[in-house]
Subunit: 288 residues, 4 copies
C-alpha cells in the first residue's frame, strides 16, 4: 500500500487514437480538479490540457505515469522511468493487455484510487544488458534496460547463428538457431511464448532463455534464477546479428562482441488492477 | 558445508544389477574400515556385508543414504527419507542421471568426501499432495510426497479429462486434456519435459503446471510460485482418473474428490557432485 | 456430382438434445413430403416420425445418412456405413464441426440439394487395423475401422510404453512414449493435433504418426504415404497397453500382440458443405 | 532403373575441404579409366584432373552430377540442373546428410553402379516462386526454384510480419509471425522442422506451411496438396520483408508485392543410396 501524496502525473498518450486523446483530456480535467498537475509531451500537452514537459522532465517530475495506449506504449514508458521507480498506471484502449491491465471504463476510478493512496504496486524485474564492442581502437560499451526481453537474432539475409552462452560464469549451451530470447517473467507472455517458452508468473525472480527455431530439437526453453549473468557471444565470424530490446530498440552485434544480461538494478512498478493475472491470461490467451 | 560426523550409512542397491551389488560390497568394506556402519535391507545385507535393517529402520537410523541404481531408485529413497532430511548420495550405474550425479568410478571418492564432512548439499523442493475423497459415509484423506511430479491422468479407456484448477485460491484454468502434471524443478526434466514443459533450474522455488495433450492449443505450460496451493477437481462425472506420484505410487480419483498440491514441508537433500547441472543437461538432453 | 435418386434416408439423432430431436422431426416430415422414406433407430423412430430400423438395417438400406449431433456422433456412423459407402450429411447442433460441416439452419437446404442430386462428396480415407493376438492356444485376429485415428496408449497405472514400429516392412523407430497415434488427415485436427501433429488437408493420401509425450524430444510427428503398412509392437513384457479406435472402441494389447494399420479398403463419403475447409479451420482453431 | 549410358560427369567439390578434393581426384581418375569425361568448374578442374567447364556448361553437358560436400552444396547444384533433370549423386564428407546419402567410403562403388545403369532415382518436388513487384513504373517479376523451402521473414530490425495467405485461390489464413516457411517434403527436415513442422516422407506430393514464431498459438503447421498455389502478401506497409530460397538466394519484398509459390515444373533426381530414409532420420535426428 503506497501512501505518499501525488502532486504531478505524467500522461503518455497514443496520439493517433482519438479515443485515447479524449480520455486523456477527461483525466487531465479531473487531475486539475484534484489539485494535481497533469504533464504531457509538448506535441500533445495543449490538446489535452496538460502542462508541457519533455520526456526527461516527465521522467524526473512525474510521481505517477498514466499510459493510454497498449502494452507496446507502456514498455517504452517503463524503460524511461525505471531508474525513478515511478508507478505506472496502464490503461488499455481495447480489451486488456498483459501490462495495461485497466480498461478505458475503469481508468478514472483507478486513477482516483491511486491519488487516494489506495493501491498496490506490482514490481516486475527488468533486464540490464551491456553490449561490449570489440572494435579496432578501444572497447566501447552500450547499456540497455528491457522490461520484456532481450533478443539476439540473425541478420536479414544471414544464416543460422551459432551462439555460445555462459550462465552464472559456467559454460551453458552452444546454440545453432535463428536467435535467442532472454525474457523476464513479464516478457514470458510476449515474444518468448511464440518461440515455445512457458508462461511465467510475473513476480517470480527468474528469467527465461528461449532459443528461436533451434537446430537441435532438445534445446528447449530454460528457466534460470535471475541472479545469473547470461553472457552471449556470436561465433560465426562473417555475419552480423541483430540485437533487440523489447522489440523497440536495436543494435548490430558482431562476432567479437559480448552481450551480458543481468537482472536490472531497478524494477518496474505497475499499479495493480482489479483483474487477477489468471483472468488476463484466460482472456488474452483465449483459454475460455 | 555439512560437518556432523556420520556413523551409519544406508545403502539401497538395485539388486538385479551385478555391478551394483559388487560396488555395494566394496563400499561396505570401505565404510567398515572407516568405522562407519553400513545398513541395508534384509534381502541384500548379507550379500554385500551390511547390517540388516528394514526400510523404516533405514529411514530412522541412517545419517547418509547411498543409492546405487538410477534416478528411479533414488526417487523412492528420497520420498522415504524426506521427513528425516537425510542427505542422499546417488550413484548412477550407466552414465549420469538427473538425480544420480555420481558415476560408479567416482563413488568411492565421493563417499570419502562426505564422510570427511567435505561436501555441499542441494536442497530440492518436494510436493505434498492431499487427495480428499468424497465418499458415501465420511471424508477420507490420503497424503503423498513427490520429488518429481504429481500427475492426474485419464483412465485407461476413458476420454479426455475436464479439470478445474484453482491456484492460490483463485480460479486458474479449466483444462480439457489427457491429464495434468504438477512438477518440481527437479521433475521438470522428467515427464513434464515430454509434455512440452520448460527445463527449470533445480533450486528455484517454483512449480510447473504442464497439461498433457490439451485440447486448447494455447494451454501452454505455466511456471508458478511454489507458495501457491494448486487444487484440482475432475469435472466429468462418469470416468475415474488416475493419480500418479513420481510415476511410482498411484491411486484412483473420482469426480467429487479434490486434489491439493503444495510445496512439501521437507525437501530432499542431494549430495552435490562435481558435475554442474549444465553439464548434466548437455549430456542427458544431447545438446552436444 | 452424384446423380442416383435417393429413396430412403437414415437419421441418427443425438437423443439427449431436444433441438436435435425437433430438427429430426422437421426433416422427416420434409422427407416424406419428398417421397423419401426416413429411417431411424427403434428408440427414436416414433418420436420423430421415421420408420424403425436397427443399425444393421440402417447401414444396409439407407442411401443417405443424416447425422444430427456432433463430430463424435458422426464418427460412429461413418464406421458403421464405411463398407456401403453411403454418403453422410453431418449437421452440427452448435457452430461447425470438422466433420459435421452443416449448421442446423442450413440442414433443410442441404438435404434438398442432396435429394436433387446436386451435391459433391468428399472421400476421406479410413484406417483398417488388425490386432493379432498371441495367445496360448491359437492366434486370434480382431479388425477395426477408424475414421480419425488409431491410438496405442499406456495402461492406467503403467509406465511409458516401448514401441517398436515397422513402416512399409522396414524398421522405422523405437519409441519410448505414453503412446502413439496413427491418424488419417481427417483425424489430424483431432487428438493428433493435441499431441503436436500438423494439420493435414483432408483429401491427401497420407497418414500421420504422432507419438504422445515421447521421451526423445526429436521424435517429432511424421507424415507417411497411406500406402505404407504400419506395424506396432509393445516391447515391455509386463504391462498391457490400451488400444483405441476413434476414441470410441477399445481393446487391451499385450506384449506379444502385433497391431497392423493400413489404409482402409473403403473410405467415408461426406456430403460437401458450402463451408470451405479453411473456413472451418479458422473457426474451430480460433485463428481469427 | 535408368539405362542411358553416361558419357560426361560433372563434379561439384567443396574446395575448402582437402578430403573432398582428394576424393574428387580419385573419382576423376576412375571416370577417365571408365571412358567417361569428368567436368568441373575452372577454379578446381586442373587440381582434380577434370575438364574445365562453367556452371552453365556443366548444367548443359553433364549427364550425371556428383556432389562432394554437404546438403548445402547439393541444394545449389539441384537448383542449377533442375530444368535438365540431371541425376545427382550426393556424397557427404561427414556422416550422412538428408540429401547427400552416400558416405565417402561408398562413393566409388555408388558411382560404378550409376555408370553401369544399375541405380534408381528419387524424384523430389521443387517449388517455383514468382515474386511480382509492384513498382512505380511497371510490374516486374522474378522467379526462383527451391528444393527445400521458400521463406518469408521479417526484416532485420522489423517487427512481426502480418501475412495474408491465399491457398488454392481461397483465403487461407492471416498470420502475425516472424515469418512463414513453405517447404517441400525434402525441406521438411531442414528449417521447417526447427519451426515445429512435421517430418514428411520425401516422395509425397505435398507441401508444408510452417509459420515462424506465430503470435496465435493455434497457427500450427499445415500440410497441403502440392497442386495448390500459395499466394502471400505482406500487409504492414512500412517494413520490408526478406525472401529466402533454400537459405541461399535472397531478395527484399515490400508490402504491395505478391509472392506466389507453386510446385515446380521440374523435380530433382537424386540417385538413391542403400540407406533407407528411415535410417537417415534415425541417424540425423538422433532417435537412437
Amino acid at each position: 500500500m503506497a501512501k505518499r501524496s501525488i502532486k504531478s502525473v505524467g500522461l503518455i498518450v497514443k496520439r493517433d487514437r482519438p479515443d485515447a486523446v479524449a480520455l486523456a483530456r477527461t483525466l487531465c480535467r479531473h487531475l486539475r480538479a484534484s489539485k494535481c498537475q497533469p504533464l504531457a509531451e509538448p506535441e500533445i500537452a495543449d490538446q489535452i490540457g496538460a502542462h508541457s514537459a519533455s520526456r526527461p522532465e516527465l521522467a524526473e517530475r512525474a510521481e505517477l505515469m498514466v499510459v493510454l495506449g497498449g502494452d507496446g506504449t507502456l514498455l517504452g514508458v517503463a524503460r524511461m522511468v525505471a531508474a525513478q521507480q515511478t508507478p505506472i498506471l496502464g490503461v488499455n484502449l481495447g480489451g486488456l493487455g498483459f501490462l495495461t491491465e485497466v480498461t478505458s471504463d475503469e481508468a478514472r476510478a483507478a486513477l482516483d484510487r491511486v491519488l487516494a493512496g489506495n493501491f498496490e504496486v506490482d514490481r516486475r524485474i527488468t533486464l540490464e544488458t551491456e553490449v561490449e564492442r570489440c572494435e579496432t581502437s578501444a572497447r566501447r560499451r552500450e547499456r540497455f534496460v528491457a522490461v520484456n526481453d532481450v533478443v539476439l537474432n540473425r541478420g536479414p539475409l544471414g544464416r543460422m547463428l551459432e551462439l555460445d552462452v555462459v550462465a552464472d560464469h559456467r559454460p551453458f549451451c552452444s546454440y545453432r538457431a535463428d536467435g535467442l530470447i532472454v525474457a523476464t517473467p513479464t516478457g514470458s507472455t510476449a515474444y518468448a511464448l511464440s518461440a515455445g517458452g512457458p508462461i511465467v508468473f510475473p513476480t517470480l525472480d527468474v528469467m527465461v532463455l528461449a532459443p528461436i527455431c533451434p537446430h537441435t530439437l532438445s534445446n528447449r526453453p530454460v528457466v534460470l534464477p535471475d541472479s545469473f549473468e547470461i553472457e552471449i557471444r556470436v561465433r560465426a565470424p562473417d555475419h552480423d546479428a541483430t540485437f533487440l530490446v523489447d522489440g523497440q530498440e536495436s543494435s548490430i552485434v558482431g562476432s567479437e562482441d559480448a552481450i551480458r544480461v543481468r537482472r536490472g538494478r531497478y524494477g518496474v512498478s505497475l499499479v495493480r488492477s482489479s483483474h487477477p493475472y489468471f483472468e488476463i491470461w484466460r482472456d488474452k490467451l483465449r483459454w475460455g
